[in-house]
Symmetry: D2
Subunit: 144 residues, 4 copies
Amino acid sequence: MAHAPVMTRQEVEDFLDREFPQLHHDGRSFHVEEVGPMSARMRLDAHERHLRPGETISGPAMMTLADVALYAAILAQIGPVGLAVTTSLNFNFLRKPKLAPLIADVRLLKLGKRLAVGEVSLYSQGEAEVVCHATGTYSIPDRR
Amino acid sequence: MAHAPVMTRQEVEDFLDREFPQLHHDGRSFHVEEVGPMSARMRLDAHERHLRPGETISGPAMMTLADVALYAAILAQIGPVGLAVTTSLNFNFLRKPKLAPLIADVRLLKLGKRLAVGEVSLYSQGEAEVVCHATGTYSIPDRR
Amino acid sequence: MAHAPVMTRQEVEDFLDREFPQLHHDGRSFHVEEVGPMSARMRLDAHERHLRPGETISGPAMMTLADVALYAAILAQIGPVGLAVTTSLNFNFLRKPKLAPLIADVRLLKLGKRLAVGEVSLYSQGEAEVVCHATGTYSIPDRR
Amino acid sequence: MAHAPVMTRQEVEDFLDREFPQLHHDGRSFHVEEVGPMSARMRLDAHERHLRPGETISGPAMMTLADVALYAAILAQIGPVGLAVTTSLNFNFLRKPKLAPLIADVRLLKLGKRLAVGEVSLYSQGEAEVVCHATGTYSIPDRR
């Protein structure tokens, strides 16, 4: 179940940069920190457009980070052979994140032929408490 | 259950502009089209940062629109007496949206003392098919 | 998008009886009331094991009804050519249902080659208010 | 955040037996195996009514176990001072469970004044792979 990923951290980051340049509109904010077997870690260095009053990071910025981090984890396992498509996402918002880099820890729960499912815990860098928890399902294109 | 809203469309839009100026980073994209009893409609005129390759609107842009539209619907019913907080969101992504204005139709399912729950259908303006369906729960602050 | 279903109400009910006899453990509780284009309606006549203190119907009984009603709606559209499998379900519990027959109204949002997605509103027979809202995703087996 | 629970495993089991006798309709199936700080573990010894063709445990049986296990975890932390109410549940069904005791491992992510949020991993006893993953939100009554 937990083979080594087929792409390196750098290859995943390069792929995201090339395929989703809009993520970096106004400057790079999303960073791939690590990829591993059935896992990945990403970081959001929040730009002004990701903030909300009260010195916190917006819900949509958290949702974007969770989605791209799940995508990165899947990509790392199956390689850039075709584009996985997000089919569902579920979020529980638990606490207000600090104005600090936001970390997304992904654990894939299933990597099937047609569907991949994973969970993500988001927390402020250096803090223990999860600020947002997400689960997501991705449809994987036929690979021949 | 379905009283007239206590804020007008314009009042809701003004409130969002004032409280969430970051939504309009790079120019106004999110518009309140209508508020009604237990309902609201918003529109996203997608900016370049909301797009994805293949001439479509990004998942995070859809999620942002759904979240703000649910928020606007609740605000219209209870007034600007305190800030509701998103506690959970669930999304099913059904089809790729066209490169056209994206409409969010909100129907509130419950407006309790502590929690409000609603559903949102997103579709490309002028099209019948739902491209994304969302449900969300918001915690409502104590009102005294 | 909304062709006539390929199975009748009776055929769907017979199929469920044959394939899922455990649903009727202790006597028949689940009834297919109607099937239509991208839709279905089912009814639960709650048995004692579906109840909870305070004269209400249990959460698990509501979840079972929603799941089987979504399944029935999909079955009616695609026919008994193979078994769809539930891949995700999301529930919002809004109010306590009365001690009355519980109705599930299903609307399919997507019926693709690989995935079907639908939403369900549950309400007590004769009442207007939704007591539970659900969305679900089903994986559809390859049809050749 | 992670104080010792205020109820023992036995006290939680006794409370569930007393308050939800319908869970044991046809004989005891649900067992509290363990309670801990922000956690609990329950077990389902599936009865015939929990089964499905193909020698597997039904989706509704898995949903019931996840719901009651989350409830038990919250109860253990806050005590029997009033009844928490399930407000939302989200399930991802990953694999067919074996015909074996089904274990639910709960981790509470938040225990606030008004809302508790947790996640549950279900797996067949003795197996490593998660067969179903759930998250749930519970409304906590005012405690004075």
